[in-house]
């Protein structure tokens, strides 16, 4: 009886509170929602419209009048036949396929070396993190200097070779590709190291000690105790690098401008160049939309898979 009264009394208060807090919650998230609307939703609608036209900023008509230059799906059919687009896309995937595993293995190796304490650990740890904090454009410029034909890389090679070496790294297609890859691995291995080490430190000591007492070798312990515990962290680290690597622009563009020819032209550099130099924005909009849609599908699928495996685990 008393309980009923209490509940009856409590209910309207509770109700008012949730309505109030729902209103407050809504207004707290409103600015973020509006900003997203402003930079994602509205621009994408605009992009869909422009992508169906031949519009260019040099046509002298405003973008909303672009329907005068309507060309239906011509941009999309052009895209299918655009070799430069496909080669840029393939090159971006190739960059990911080289950089991400290399950064992962180097980062994992470093994390293993750093997992327990030794004199100087804290200092060396900080020093190793420096590359990822350097502004990527500046990192691109650093590597641009290093790989000059009269620069320090050739100087080191000359020292080992015994005679002056003057390799023109950035003007040979294959070597330029190697150079930009090197800059990416240099800059982002620390990120893998940082994340993997944080995951490795979280593995409980007592389990490892028990396994050691039972006579498990280091490799067995690593494979059966450490790695399974790090599964989620490894997936997160790889996902972050795959996403960021797909967008790569700054250091590549500063080192080579996408050249020589198109030897280091990734998808971002390709879009940038078509935007700036050829100025056919209707076409660029189509390219950008195709990429956005493919990425949305892939990422939605990946996020769903990840949250499913998290619920299962």
């Amino acid at each position: 009886m008393t309980a009923d009264i209490l509940e009856a009394k409590a209910e309207p208060v509770e109700h008012e509170d949730t309505r109030d807090s729902r209103r407050l919650g809504f207004s707290l998230t409103l600015p973020a929602q509006l900003l997203i609307l402003f930079i994602a939703v509205f621009p994408i609608l605009m992009q869909i419209y422009i992508s169906l036209t031949d519009w260019s900023p040099l046509d002298g008509i405003s973008w909303w009048q672009a329907h005068q230059l309507w060309n239906g799906f011509a941009n999309y059919t052009d895209l299918v036949a655009d070799d430069r687009f496909w080669s840029a896309l393939w090159r971006t995937v190739l960059v990911m396929a080289i950089c991400v595993p290399a950064e992962f293995l180097l980062g994992l190796g470093l994390a293993i070396l750093f997992v327990d304490n030794f004199p100087g650990r804290g200092f060396l740890y900080s020093v190793l993190l420096v590359p990822m904090m350097v502004v990527p454009a500046v990192a691109g410029y650093m590597f641009f200097m290093l790989f000059q034909s009269g620069g320090p890389v050739n100087d080191i090679l000359s020292f080992f070779y015994g005679a002056p070496v003057t390799i023109a790294w950035l003007s040979d297609p294959d070597l330029a590709f190697f150079a930009v890859i090197a800059s990416d691995i240099w800059q982002w291995t620390p990120l893998m190291f940082l994340i993997l080490l944080a995951g490795m430190v979280g593995v409980p000591e007592d389990q490892l000690r028990a396994a050691t007492l039972l006579g498990a070798s280091w490799t067995t312990r690593f494979r059966t105790i450490v790695l399974p515990r790090m599964k989620t962290i490894i997936i997160i680290a790889l996902a972050i690098r795959v996403i960021e690597n797909f967008k790569v622009f700054d250091n590549f563009y500063i080192m080579t401008g996408g050249g020589p020819g198109v030897a280091t032209e990734t998808i971002s550099i390709y879009i940038y160049k078509v935007t700036q130099q050829e100025l056919i924005w209707g076409y660029v909009a189509a390219v950008a939309l195709v990429i956005l849609i493919s990425l949305s599908v892939v990422s939605a699928f990946a996020i769903k898979r990840m949250s499913q495996s998290r619920e299962a685990g």
Binding site: M133, W218, I271
Partner: protein, 286 residues
């Protein structure tokens, strides 16, 4: 895990060689920044790894003092680009933190926001290059091209996901008893947020803001597309330090690169503890 002597030797050898590899590019730039023109333009056999006669000429040159060895003078000094980088990154950080923090609180306490978390991840996955055409058109229409506030607005939106996720994990970690106690005392929800939660979150807010600032300061592509002359940022301005007439002004570029590199490295080391949380969208705490 293993404490045998050969392992220790191997460990130090491996670590020190990787540390050396990771330091060489940075040290080379530092060295170039302090070299006089005769040394930074040297190649091949004359190449020196460390400045023989260190000088601040490169920095003086950036700020408009023409040196006797270098006949060229800059038509624009590095002052304005540095100011532009600072203003856009600082105000971008303010926008991102205000929108991100309040949205994070809304989601963490009231579960509101609907698809916002997913939308913010998506925003992070999209290459900026693929949404910039409409943004460039909109910004031209609004008169925001080549202004620091136009740039700051884009920065604020682009880095908001980081502010949001970082602050959300901090709010989730915070014990609610204190807030509940204040609510029982009769404070309104908003007052509790403003007077109790936010002051308690000061360290978290500071490290999130620094993290977001580093991201904004590091941008190149967005500034390249949205600024043209008056408000170009440091990395965009850097390209103007080479021309067909003068060739590459290595020394000046290295000096400017050093100026650009110092703030994120110093701040990054200061917030080391929270880097993992920030970089993994709060999925992993150190």
């Amino acid at each position: 895990m293993n404490r045998s002597m050969p392992f220790e030797i191997f460990r130090y050898a491996a670590i020190l060689s990787l540390v050396a590899l990771s330091l060489i590019p940075t040290l080379w730039m530092v060295s170039m920044a302090f070299k006089p023109i005769a040394e930074w333009s040297a190649t091949g056999a004359e190449l020196t790894w460390w400045p023989n006669s260190p000088t601040l000429d490169n920095f003086r040159f950036l700020f408009g003092e023409s040196s006797s060895d270098l006949i060229v003078a800059l038509d624009r000094t590095a002052g304005q680009p540095i100011l532009s980088s600072l203003l856009s990154a600082v105000f971008g950080t303010i926008i991102a933190m205000m929108a991100g923090t309040s949205a994070a609180y809304g989601l963490s306490r009231f579960g509101s926001g609907g698809n916002l978390p997913l939308a913010l991840i998506q925003l992070r996955i999209f290459p900026p290059m693929a949404v910039m055409i409409p943004v460039m058109i909109m910004w031209a229409f609004l008169g925001l091209i080549d202004t620091w506030y136009g740039l700051a607005l884009v920065y604020g939106i682009v880095t908001m996901p980081f502010a949001f996720w970082l602050m959300k994990t901090f709010f989730d970690d915070m014990p609610r008893e204190i807030e509940d106690a204040a609510l029982v005392e009769g404070c309104s929800r908003l007052r509790v947020f403003w007077k109790i939660t936010l002051p308690m979150m000061r360290p978290a807010l500071a490290s999130s803001a620094l993290f977001v600032f580093i991201l904004n300061w590091s941008d190149y592509l967005i500034a390249l597309l949205l600024t043209t002359r008056d408000w170009v940022t440091i990395p965009v301005y850097m390209a103007s330090l080479s021309s067909s007439m003068t060739g590459q002004l290595y020394g000046a570029k290295a000096a400017l690169g050093l100026i650009a590199a110092i703030p994120p490295v110093v701040l990054g080391i200061a917030i080391q503890k929270h880097l993992v949380r920030g970089l993994t969208f709060g999925a992993l705490k150190q």
